[in-house]
């Protein structure tokens, strides 16, 4: 039971971090559909850093380096999404492109660095760095929660956060108020990549000692997006959605057995449960924000005032 609770907390923390990353982009007026791909890029960067660090290095230097490299990899993956803002690309197709590109690139990287045609990457070194042991509180959990709190503080309590929200809510008036709308939106999208990348490393480590690269970030990015959309711009509602979805992810567990493994449920039920719950949550929160945000964004882009 303790292991299940820890798992649930870890999945929830990862979803929260990704949700927060998505919130930066969503508040900037760009629907963050590429979050899943950004998580894969982040996981790839974080694992590469963890495997490259020397043995005798201090953990207090190694942990921030791993997380930072995951964040930077996510940020690099977000560059096409950021480019779509000034170049007036379609955010949905650009996000889809990032999602589609991430897995083959990660697979190619795994096959180039691994033995034979293995589609599995070893995460043991990274888990050692982040100090997780069976039945103990993983070090990743407080770190992820601290980053989530930091992100929320940036969004809610800083001048940048207020400007970001203003640009997302009414770009035209923000422009008249003298804000640099394009630059602010690009920063929002890049921050989404940074937090999404760190969330990706957490998502991979939450799966256990190996990462099946072909499965990407196991759909956690889409779940985070669903929590964000179901929350309808209210952080408490998004938090509640993340807790429910994180717990549902933990029910399936790391190896597929979960705590309800012997309950006689049809095969695949627990694996599909988080996605079904996310669909129900989306259906219950009528009049989602996605379409309105896209419509506003398009209107603003049509105005030709996207110069940064």
């Amino acid at each position: 039971m303790t292991a299940f609770l820890l798992n649930a907390a870890l999945f929830t923390a990862v979803l929260l971090l990704c949700c927060l990353g998505g919130r930066f982009s969503e508040r900037a007026g760009v629907f963050p559909l590429g979050l899943e791909g950004l998580m894969v890029f982040g996981a790839l960067g974080g694992l590469a850093c963890a495997n490259a660090l020397p043995e005798g290095m201090s953990r207090w230097a190694g942990i921030p380096l791993c997380l930072l490299s995951a964040g930077m990899a996510g940020l690099a993956g977000a560059l096409p999404l950021a480019a779509a803002v000034p170049l007036k690309g379609d955010p949905v197709w650009t996000g889809t492109a990032v999602n589609l590109l991430s897995v083959p690139l990660a697979l190619l990287a795994a096959r180039m660095t691994g033995e034979g045609s293995a589609d599995v990457m070893d995460t043991v070194r990274a888990i050692e760095w982040l100090g997780e042991k069976q039945g103990q509180l993983p070090l990743l959990l407080p770190i992820v929660l601290a980053f989530a709190a930091l992100g929320q503080a940036i969004l809610a309590g800083t001048r940048f956060g207020i400007r970001l929200r203003a640009c997302g809510e009414n770009a035209g008036q923000s422009l008249f108020a003298g804000l640099q709308v394009g630059r602010t939106r690009v920063l929002g999208v890049l921050l989404c990549g940074f937090f999404g990348g760190m969330g990706g490393l957490g998502a991979v480590l939450a799966q256990g000692g190996s990462w099946n690269v072909g499965r990407g970030a196991m759909g956690l990015g889409f779940l985070a997006l669903a929590a964000l959309t179901a929350g309808r711009r209210k952080k408490t509602a998004a938090l509640a959605a993340a807790v429910v979805l994180g717990t549902a992810c933990a029910l399936w567990g790391r190896s597929g057995e979960g705590i309800l493994g012997g309950a006689g449920l049809p095969e695949g039920t627990l694996e599909a449960l988080p996605y079904l719950l996310a669909l129900v949550a989306l259906a219950l929160c009528r009049r989602g924000t996605g379409i309105m945000r896209n419509a506003e964004s398009e209107e603003w882009n049509d105005g030709g005032s996207c110069e940064m």
Partner: protein, 363 residues
């Protein structure tokens, strides 16, 4: 008569230039990316592999082998074209059918279960695949039309559910019940003598002309019918689904249902013609969607443009697979980049129209 700056602008924003320049730019991008990819994967033999990728069936040693390879490419093109149409049709209604992977997977699952478990005739397998794909698309459409859930997000979530269901069901069909392996029905569809045109290749079936007919049917429905006008009208007002208009909801439902059926048919065409199998180690739907999205975007969401690009991309995919075992992954990555480029090109194609609407295009 002098050729001035305004004339140059008018030419650059004209529809003819856009139709010509954009595909040429994409072809150049494909060639560059392909060469760079092979240089990274096989530094010593990049040029050779790149040539094999470009040549595909032309690299066959005898005319018979070349005909057979062309037949295989055409058989896979049929499936890719149907999936690309499943993306292009909702896009004309202003919707993103990102759930096409789930619709394709369920169509494949239905076709395989009907063929391998119940030993049903091919026609029933095709109908089952189309029906299951349509149901999955209809669920997405109902969420969009009834509850205004973003079809992109619901489609992605439903993909995950469909892939889990499909994997668990198909695992039981594998001998030994393992998690690795490829399920295939072999050529089940009748060839009707078409195989004779391609060196006796058994995967050449009526699915190929059927895919071309499907593209023509989509074009006729969109351009010549009242339902098509309703579909295109839905795309003109992005905020229409925000209001309780039963007509807009019905259009979303019907469009996504039709798209789901097309994706299911694509899966049936691929598996029942024997042109491909279903790998349980990695979902083939993801690679298919990657190529289908690229074909639809590069074709400008036009049915015939989609058909043409589906052939070009399938030709390159098959060539890459002939060149090296890592070829399919490389082409998948290239197509993903093309989807990203297509997101920008979609704007380029419509830029002239927008200028014209605003009165910006003046002589």
């Amino acid at each position: 008569m002098r050729y001035g700056k305004t004339d140059r602008k008018r030419f650059l924003y004209g529809s003819a230039a856009r139709s010509l320049v954009v595909p040429l730019l994409f072809l150049a991008a494909i060639l560059l990316l392909g060469l760079a990819g092979w240089a990274y994967l096989c530094p010593g033999r990049a040029g050779e592999k790149f040539l094999v990728m470009l040549q595909n069936f032309i690299s066959g040693r005898t005319p018979g082998e070349r005909a057979r390879l062309l037949g295989q490419t055409l058989a896979r093109t049929a499936s890719l074209c149907l999936c690309a149409l499943a993306i292009a049709l909702p896009c004309r209604a202003g919707m993103y059918n990102l759930g096409v992977a789930g619709q394709y997977a369920l169509g494949a699952g239905a076709a395989l279960v009907c063929a391998l478990e119940f030993r049903l005739p091919w026609a029933v397998c095709v109908l089952a695949a189309a029906a299951l794909g349509a149901v999955w698309g209809a669920l997405c459409g109902a969420l969009k039309g009834g509850r205004n859930v973003s079809e992109a997000l619901s489609g992605l979530l439903m993909n995950a559910v469909a892939l889990v269901l499909c994997r668990n069901k198909l695992r039981s069909l594998l001998s030994g019940g393992g998690t690795l392996g490829v399920l295939s029905t072999g050529p089940m569809l009748p060839t009707l003598g078409l195989d004779g045109l391609f060196g006796g290749e058994p995967t050449v079936t009526p699915a190929i002309p059927a895919a071309a007919l499907a593209a023509a049917a989509v074009y006729i429905v969109l351009e010549r019918t009242r339902a098509g006008a309703a579909v295109k009208a839905a795309a003109l007002n992005a905020q229409a689904p925000m209001y309780p208009d039963p007509g807009a909801g019905r259009t979303a439902l019907m469009t996504l249902t039709a798209a789901g059926a097309l994706a299911g048919l694509g899966a049936a065409a691929q598996l029942l013609s024997g042109a491909g199998g279903w790998s349980l180690s990695r979902q083939p739907a993801v690679g298919m969607v990657c190529a289908a999205a690229a074909a639809a975007l590069l074709g400008g969401m036009d049915p015939f443009g989609t058909l043409l690009w589906a052939f070009v991309l399938q030709h390159l995919s098959d060539g890459a697979a002939l060149a090296d075992g890592r070829g399919p992954l490389l082409t998948e990555a290239i197509y993903a980049v093309l989807v990203g480029l297509g997101a920008f090109a979609f704007f380029i194609r419509h830029a002239g129209k927008k200028r014209k609407e605003k009165g910006g295009e003046k002589p």
